[in-house]
């Protein structure tokens, strides 16, 4: 039976959710640090907690509802399609960044921009409220993508709890790392992480959309790591091709952690 993810699936699922959540939380943390530095830590942390509680409530409400009220085959087809589109977007951007054709995400620049905006805002009125709202929006909006990933991957594989736990672990890890590295978030190898997430989302998306339309996968869910490897090879080849076409030295390997250090 190919309907359940039984062996390799949970590990790939945890890695995919953890990496996706980490990337989004690094982006959120940049905003929170900027709020904390300029508007005070109390309002920033209140905004973070409120956003995390709201996001957790969304997962708790929508996850069981999806599982109970949507037929599994339809859920797999829709979720597979969503993951395929979303994953292709991530992978495309990561390939273009690795090939030097798209600007890398610069957390230092984003931090400086946020600080400048918040410092320029009127300092006296609504100081705490501004900090709360900016921190809440930053975490909530970045977290929404995580919620979609947790819900889609978690419900389709019947591992919603595991997916939610992986996302929660990523939040804790990024928070601790954020406290340690403070404002040096540009050191996080974000492009390599996005490449990994993109590969896994496209692989899950291919697998489940295939299941939804009746594809017979040889080896059932063991096809997932094979798909990850195949798409990884394709991404590497694309980066190499673009590098060679533009006359660059092929240095930006697909999985290179230093891709974001520029």
């Amino acid at each position: 039976m190919t309907g359940t993810v039984t062996s390799s699936g949970p590990l790939v699922l945890v890695v995919a959710v953890f990496l996706a959540s980490s990337v989004e939380m690094v982006e959120a943390l940049t905003i929170v640090l900027a709020v904390g530095v300029t508007r005070g830590w109390r309002s920033a942390l209140e905004g973070v907690v409120a956003a995390l509680v709201t996001l957790a409530a969304l997962v708790a409400l929508l996850g069981p509802a999806l599982v109970h009220f949507v037929p599994l085959s339809a859920l797999r087809l829709v979720v597979g399609g969503l993951l395929l589109i979303f994953g292709l977007q991530w992978l495309r951007k990561a390939v273009l960044r690795a090939a030097g054709l798209k600007a890398k995400h610069d957390e230092d620049a984003i931090f400086a921009e946020q600080v400048a905006e918040l410092t320029a805002a009127p300092p006296s009125e609504g100081r705490a409220a501004t900090g709360f709202v900016v921190a809440f929006k930053g975490v909530f909006l970045e977290g929404l993508e995580v919620v979609v990933i947790v819900l889609t991957l978690g419900t389709t594989s019947h591992h919603l709890g595991l997916a939610a736990a992986a996302a929660a672990a990523a939040v804790v890890v990024v928070l601790v790392a954020g406290l340690i590295v403070a404002r040096q978030l540009s050191r996080v190898p974000e492009n390599a992480m996005k490449m990994g997430v993109g590969l896994m989302l496209v692989s899950f998306g291919t697998f489940w959309s295939g299941e939804g339309v009746g594809v017979h996968w040889p080896g059932a869910d063991l096809a997932i790591p094979v798909l990850v490897a195949v798409y990884g090879a394709v991404a590497w080849a694309l980066v190499a091709l673009l590098d060679r076409r533009d006359g660059h030295t092929v240095t930006s390997a697909v999985g290179a952690g230093g891709a974001d250090h520029g």
Binding site: L96, L101, A103, L144, V213, V234, L242
Partner: protein
């Protein structure tokens, strides 16, 4: 802003939520890569047609990743033709 046009802040809360919800899904699914959205639908739709013939369902396991990889390659190549600013 044109005269008579209501500022977004004066819209009812429900309308703002609906617009925001629509924006989120538009950005999430389409954004600046409509070719990936349309391409993914075409790829999955084509494989669904292939799978109508039960004898081709195992072959479809090969066709689907190949089509997805081709879609990614085409989108990346299209973007790569524009030099970075």
């Amino acid at each position: 802003m044109a005269e008579g046009e209501a500022p977004s802040g004066s819209r009812p809360l429900v309308a703002r939520w609906i617009v925001g919800f629509g924006h989120f899904w538009w950005d999430f699914l389409i954004g600046d890569t409509p070719e990936l959205f349309v391409g993914a639908l075409v790829v999955v739709g084509s494989v669904a047609l292939l799978c109508l013939d039960h004898s081709l369902r195992t072959a479809a396991a090969l066709v689907l990743p190949v089509l997805v990889a081709a879609l990614l390659g085409a989108s990346v190549w299209k973007a790569g033709r524009k030099r970075p600013s």
